[in-house]
Subunit: 337 residues, 4 copies
């Protein structure tokens, strides 16, 4: 941590900060510049707790040098983490493809989709039984009935299941039926939910919040890891910007950025990231080319009849085309599917 | 709802959409323009559920004409709502001032603050017992112990209490001890929490999400109202933008905008909105001048020692100055404190 | 400047940076923390020119401690600047009101507006003769003919004139006819235009760019000042965010922020800032309450017939109401009109 | 265009709008919904000029159905445009690679870079002689001297040259020496410059503005095309968002989006898009995978000594690796280099 003093600060101001830090047994390095004095702080910053040093006399601002997360960082664990879920892995050499409809609507819809996806060689079936919707008047999901249908599809096809939890209660149920729990973008800073899923051992897909920086996203992962659950897969799903043509702005540069900062695997969701099915295949190719460990794609047997997110869902034909493209791109980046 | 057809769509495409809508007993108005055909849909749009009309052949896009919320809108209730909480009101002629420290730290801190605020004529005491913090290593609040201290302060001063709930469990406890529940920015789309507080009768301060449009914010209010709780106070607390000098960008234009769109009262939080205590007083004046029904301000007996949000907290002297300014501005906009 | 080294950097890396800096006669302070080494750089940073220190072995990142502008900063000039233009001042005790239509459309429109504004006690007449429009098919302004009409209005009413320049040619003409030149938001980083206006002595209103941070805005002012023209008035006119209800997001917190960082006067433009005339009066009140030195407001004798920006223009009655409100707010913040 | 009336509008309001439109010889379709009346307008909207219909009694808002650009749109020209520049093409089957240093610094730097790039098979040499820099104290370019060096490099290697123009004067000079003119992000809405380059025949690379929507970007292209110059190449270079880890947020979804909306070729600039050289190669792969017609990449013989943008420049080894990757990705999307 570096404390930047104001240009006009007094010697007493500097001494005041120095004494405060020394009382906490923190090391102090004072560096008098031509325009500013800066004070480097050495030692365990947790001793400072949340002390608002900005308010001490003569202090202009604080610059944090060390990132706020630890367990999620590459410094803590230099090699890539590989997350195991059922019979599959995410973060290893194989690209993981997680596909299925936005919402579980009926047994027929899920079973037919799962069979098709199994043939296509996907890794996981996804489907939402609890849907966080902007309007209370939109379809909210089949809840436990939907989870049962997903479990049935797994039984028939062997595909492990990913589903979203939105609350304590849905988390308990989802963990009972599914192999991987998804924490959605709107819950990325629902710290209570993060802690609860952190106390489980279930693998977690942690979506990036709509307005979350990469640092905040890794800090959200830290919440889960700090409770003991290290099985985290990050998912870039687009951030909110001023652009309105796409539903969100899919920030693919977060993929190589996360690879630098963290050991956790990262996948991309081009369906929510763009909100337009025509953009899903090119952006899926781009995500794999950028180094993503997998994809999360919305597929529906008949997008026109989907109860949720139809405009961004691929039909079976389009998805088969996507899989072909991905196979080729994977080879170029030294991966396989 | 207006369906905009593609420039090159066929007569069959138009007929296809028309027939689909008529089957649902919806009225149809077709308007052939020089470049585009547009189709107006008349009747109860809920019959459409979430049908993805964008995917029908020849359809370019859908334009929604009616806002997605109803109970929260001015059309539903033209006159301003006045929310009663304990012995106070928000949304009437009096400006409500809600003040106190970010976090409850100790009995002494809260009682001394409450006594000072009572003298200053504030309407509510605020203090957080459950703190949503970006890092798991930051102070997370005293939990039920903090709530008890707030209740004690109310007993001694008569000031009703506002506190934040972050989960089902904290909501139950907060509702037991406090007069008004705050739903924070990070939980604005925690729909499960919104529904739970919607089933209570307790007044709710609903903060705007970091990246929420006004429409999404009013839709979040709709979630609460749809469960039966109409006692909602909206709180503008800044949105996330590219600017980094301030912690958030306090969007004061949302105040007159919400006054046009909704009957619900709206207050402003210049402490979180700016993150800098020197900006809190000018932005408080500005909020009242813009038409806010109240303020939510962080005050701490000694901001330098605050465990949370010290840099944006006012000390007692600064707060007393703010109250003087607000009194004068209130008079100009035809209000009192 | 602080150089943050990577956690795993070697002693040679640190020595490499140290030697590089010493060769440039810069002072070096090395501070070995528990997790990171940081290197403080002391002396004239211009010696570094734009050397990309980030690329030296072992360097993680550079933290700039001193702001990139100098002449525009409070450190350079602690007292407020008061800009004189014709018979008026901006930045002193009087609030400056600059009003008029977005575009000059006809002599009749401008003369009648100017007479009305003169009666209302405004300080400057504004009107655009060169209009930067998003579409090439929109009305682009009357050019020199428009400037002549403005000069005519000044002659008849005595009101000094503000008008926008968008290019070298329009700058020369505008400076010939007008008292103050406006540089619009889209040209805030048209560095060539900034330098040209910097070589003149004419007062300049420098609007904030749509996506400019406060630091970039002050750096744009520095471009003008670096050429010798210190007569700059900053104008907050809203930034681009994800919110679509308003045309821009008027960032009123930039007003007290600029007052801290700079000695230059700052005014607000609630017409472009909101894009909706109903929000103009409340946001004008808010701007003055926040400490603005003036307002720039669009007024049109008949907004329904305006060729540009009608929806955000006030008619005469609404503007008269605004002036009354502003008079009262000014008194509270110790100013007059 | 659709005019949405207010819920409580009167019959007179509707008749007022109808009469106004009919006087202009525009067709009118009135559609009375259950909650709102909407009015479709048929005919040449230019007859409306910029009439602010929003201000007519009873009108709530206007929804534009037809995009504001015409010449730049796919409807106007369904097949892809291929832009010819010197001996090269952009937008055809071959991927165009435009590479070189951010700024021209010396003859030696440019000639050695050009020779290397020629060997690598790039299509164009780039280098800036006029640099738009945020601070007036940063290196501003060698101006005409730099252009002469670029021309010299072309003579020696045969590589056609791309360089940026920032003003009328630099445009004239740049057009004299270079094969393609770049209009930078900060000048995307410098409409005067767009019109001037529109009156030339030189191919133009039009970078997306920092806060420009795709629609505004295509409208900027329309400014150039409206003057007669159809030789436009769009360049995605990242937009400004709240994320600070990257310099900008490279919006790769704009590539397939522009391909849907426009016939113009589009390339990507991952150097400015990310600001970090380690991200340039993965994002280059991603851009080509998403369908880009080319890349604009910063390459420097010794990035550590670059006078501008060193941290985002590739050295020769890294660039050679990038070219290998791009060759392979191009094949997968049916392109070649």
């Amino acid at each position: 941590m570096v404390i930047v003093m104001k240009p006009q600060c007094s010697k007493e101001d500097i001494a005041g900060v120095e004494n405060f830090l020394k009382k906490l047994n923190l090391g102090v390095h004072i560096s008098e510049g031509s325009e500013r004095t800066i004070i480097g702080v050495i030692g365990d910053k947790r001793l400072l707790a949340d002390a608002p040093l900005e308010l001490m006399s003569g202090v202009d601002r604080i610059v944090h040098i060390v990132e706020p997360y630890k367990l999620a960082g590459r410094t803590f664990k230099p090699e890539n983490s590989v997350i195991r879920a059922a019979n599959a892995e995410i973060g290893g050499n194989r690209i993981a493809v997680i596909a299925g409809p936005c919402a579980v609507e009926s047994e027929e819809q899920i079973i037919s989709t799962a069979r098709f996806l199994k043939e296509q060689g996907v890794t996981f079936l996804r489907g939402g039984a609890y849907k966080p919707r902007t309007s209370p008047y939109s379809f909210q999901g089949l809840e436990e009935g939907g989870l049962r249908i997903l479990a049935q599809a797994r039984k028939e096809t062997g595909l492990p299941v990913v589903t979203e939890a939105v609350s304590t209660k849905s988390l308990e149920l989802a963990a009972k039926y599914a192999d991987v729990i998804q924490i959605g973008a709107r819950n990325m800073q629902n710290f209570n939910l993060l802690q609860e899923v952190g106390r489980m051992k279930v693998p977690v897909i942690l979506k990036r919040g709509l307005s979350a920086t990469i640092e905040e996203w890794l800090s959200a992962a830290e919440y889960i890891m700090n409770e003991g659950n290290y099985n985290i897969i990050l998912c870039e799903r687009g951030i909110r910007t001023f652009e309105t043509y796409t539903r969100n702005t899919l920030d693919l540069s977060s993929i190589p950025a996360v690879k630098e900062l963290s050991h956790l695997p990262i996948i991309a969701d081009p369906s929510h990231g763009t909100g337009r099915w025509r953009l899903v295949t090119p952006m899926s190719r781009a995500a794999i080319a950028a180094g993503a460990d997998g994809l999360l794609v919305e597929v529906h047997p008949c997008p026109k009849e989907a109860l949720s997110d139809g405009p961004q869902s691929l039909n079976f034909d389009s998805f088969a085309g996507l899989m072909k493209d991905i196979h080729k791109i994977a080879a170029i980046v030294g991966r396989e599917i």
